[in-house]
């Protein structure tokens, strides 16, 4: 199969959906000739024109709000928010308007819109351009939230999001834009709400999202050399969450570590842990469920500090080793 980058995959999804459906259009800051801050929309204005690839003023509330208004009247807008940190500036339109319109109007409105936004650290952009704010939006009934980790899913999930009749926030990861992977040339979508088991294993389940998926896969490779068999789950959809896949895996392995970049306190790692311990998987646990998350600090500028602020491959390896060690202790204690 041909390989393309994550950014190219996003671009293909946008182009294909615009060709397929005249109601789909893009709006955002510098998404026209500039191609967006990360070059994702490069070339689209040439094919689709300024009416469908709209360069807007620097107005996040107006961008998201215009998407809400256009969606409720029958268009299928795809807004780009240049950095996910800027979602906070337009949050009223997403949280109080888009998410609630259908419910508070008694189910008599549809808001089929997408907000795509680059998230995450690792580029030296510091505290206001590096956050992972997905948990904020996962907490809001009425929104769907996805975070693709591969070029295949970046394309398939975005296409599914554009066809969805609800507001969907797509968190793309800046560090993934240049990664390459197999992407079919034929039409496909990736259903929202379905996790993917990226690597099967027996000993420990690693539940990861976004850039933590490739890191977890590399960690799993190293763990295999030590005789630890790690199963890696890529959640892909954060809301709705594919709890079944997570629970089934933990029932099998008896150990779990959740890995995400967003900081730990009140983060969605807690949600995953809760999902596990409230389920039948509780009876299969051989060790505490761990959360491996960003440190509770704003993302710092210095590259050594920045790296230390979020989980790295070594941390995932160490967390899995710890789970194996601690579960052995449990077994010894049980025998005594």
């Amino acid at each position: 199969m041909r390989e393309i980058t994550y950014a190219q995959a996003v671009r293909e999804a946008l182009a294909e959906e615009m060709r397929r459906d005249p109601r789909v259009f893009l709006l955002g800051e510098d998404i026209g000739v500039y191609g967006g801050a990360f070059g994702v929309t490069l070339g689209l204005v040439e094919e689709f024109g300024e009416d469908r690839v709209m360069d807007t003023p620097l107005s996040e509330a107006a961008i998201i709000g215009a998407a809400v208004g256009a969606a409720v009247v029958g268009m299928r807008p795809v807004a780009e928010v240049q950095f996910s940190d800027f979602l906070t500036i337009g949050a009223d339109q997403l949280v109080n308007q888009a998410a609630k319109m259908r419910y508070m109007f008694g189910g008599k409105a549809e808001v089929p819109m997408v907000v795509r936004t680059p998230a995450g650290s690792g580029t030296g952009a510091a505290a206001q351009h590096s956050q992972s704010l997905e948990t904020w939006f996962m907490h809001i009934p009425g929104l769907k939230v996805v975070a693709p980790a591969t070029p295949h899913d970046a394309k398939g999930l975005l296409k599914a999001a554009i066809r969805d009749n609800n507001p969907v926030v797509v968190f793309e990861h800046k560090l993934l834009y240049k990664t390459k992977g197999p992407v079919p040339e034929d039409e496909y979508t990736v259903p929202i709400g379905k996790a993917a088991v990226r690597r099967e294993g027996r000993d420990v389940t690693v539940v990861a999202t976004s850039v933590m998926v490739p890191r977890s896969l590399q960690a799993a490779e190293r763990l295999a050399d030590e005789g630890i068999s790690a199963e890696v789950i890529d959640l892909r959809s954060l809301r709705p969450l594919d709890a079944e896949t997570v629970i089934a895996s933990v029932c099998k392995t008896g150990r779990a570590v959740v890995v995400h970049e967003a900081n730990k306190f009140a983060g969605f790692g807690g949600e995953i842990v809760g999902t596990i311990v409230e389920s039948e998987a509780f009876d299969f646990l051989d060790a505490p469920v761990l959360r491996l998350a960003g440190k509770d600090v704003p993302i710092p500028y210095n590259p050594r500090l920045e790296k230390a602020a979020v989980p790295q491959e070594d941390d995932i390896v160490e967390a899995c080793r710890r789970l194996m060690r601690e579960s052995r202790r449990v077994r010894v204690g049980g025998m005594a």
């Binding site: 109601r23 259009f25 009416d51 709209m54 807007t56 003023p57 107005s59 996040e60 509330a61 107006a62 998201i64 709000g65 215009a66 998407a67 809400v68 208004g69 256009a70 969606a71 409720v72 009247v73 029958g74 268009m75 807008p77 009223d92 339109q93 109080n96 308007q97 319109m101 259908r102 419910y103 508070m104 109007f105 008694g106 189910g107 008599k108 409105a109 549809e110 808001v111 089929p112 009934p141 009425g142 769907k144 969805d164 009749n165 609800n166």
Partner: protein
């Protein structure tokens, strides 16, 4: 304005006796609806909160009269008047205020979220200024879909201080969208008077800053409101872009049910009551021979009966089923 001038103005605007009477009736329906809502609340039959439109009726009715039936509006927390003027069913509104399953929002929205998307009301809004970007986006869609429709966006003077106003109006100006912004200046953002809350209360200057026409009218003169709205709607429909209108008016009642009116005087309220928009229109219509006092009374009786029937309808409607609590979160 002299009586002859007023009649000439109405004719010039294409408002014959029938439409003038329709506007009069709509204003009275709003007034009576609001008075009954207040009573129902006092009687403990309406829950939560609401914001009464009494005193501002000419603003909604004059502005919405300039729209075609399939044009859109966005409304505010003080939205009952806009809904009625846009043609809402009073029984369904009343049922919503009672939280009933057959209300506009199946009892999930209440006063601050009454909407009828299919009929062009994109919703009241609990967030001050929250509807301004939405109206702007709806206008964008109207333009893209070639619908030839216009969006009328209502908000209060308080919303002029919100960032959403600035972002959305600039956005609409940049893309020349078919939207009419109607700022209903009722003199207070809750308790904050406009002269204290706005660095520059001059709406025309404000509009100029965004590169669009701005006009301030007497919001208690339904004809003046209609005239300004008509011009703005025509301009929007012709593809010439947005307009900002200020309707200067006054809310007679408190901001919401919790308001003790500590920030204004009884004299001020009485002064504005003397400028009652409904009485003004009624006097004009009687002087013009379009309406007789007896007919005015009959209209009042009809409206009373209509709203009484709506109250009874709402009373009999079923409550939502708790088992359906989560219905409608997602499409």
């Amino acid at each position: 304005m002299k009586e002859q001038d007023w009649q000439a103005k109405a004719r010039q605007l294409g408002l014959g006796p029938e439409r003038l009477l329709h506007m009069y009736r709509q204003m009275r329906r709003i007034r009576h609806f609001e008075e009954e809502v207040d009573k129902l609340f006092q009687a403990g039959r309406i829950w939560g909160t609401f914001h009464l439109y009494i005193g501002e009726e000419a603003s909604a009715v004059g502005a919405i009269e300039a729209l075609a039936p399939d044009d859109y509006i966005t409304s505010t927390h003080r939205g009952h008047g806009h809904g009625i003027a846009k043609g809402a069913s009073i029984p369904k509104m009343m049922a919503e205020l009672r939280g009933k399953e057959t209300g506009y929002c199946r009892g999930r929205g209440g006063s601050m979220h009454i909407a009828d998307v299919a009929a062009g009301n994109l919703g009241a809004n609990g967030i001050v200024g929250g509807g301004i970007p939405i109206a702007t986006g709806a206008a964008l869609a109207c333009k893209k879909l070639g619908l030839g429709r216009v969006v009328m966006c209502f908000f209060g003077d308080g919303a002029l201080a919100q960032g959403s106003f600035h972002e959305a109006v600039n956005f609409a100006s940049v893309f020349r969208l078919p939207v009419v912004y109607v700022c209903e200046n009722n003199q207070y953002a809750m308790s904050m008077p406009v002269e204290k809350g706005l660095g520059n209360p001059d709406i025309e200057a404000r509009a100029r800053a965004y590169g669009l026409p701005g006009v301030s009218v007497d919001g208690n003169d339904v004809l003046a409101v209609y005239e300004a709205a008509r011009k703005a709607v025509d301009r929007a429909r012709a593809g010439e872009g947005p307009t900002l209108i200020e309707t200067r008016t006054y809310r007679w009642r408190g901001h919401s049910k919790s308001d003790a009116n500590r920030y204004r005087t009884r004299e001020e309220i009485e002064e504005w009551k003397a400028r009652c928009p409904i009485r003004r229109l009624e006097e004009r219509l009687i002087a013009a021979g379009i309406l007789s006092p007896a007919e005015a009374e009959r209209i009042g009786e009809d409206i009373k009966a209509e709203i009484q029937a709506a109250i009874e309808f709402a009373e009999e409607q079923p409550e939502p089923d708790v088992a359906q609590l989560a219905d409608g979160v997602y499409a």
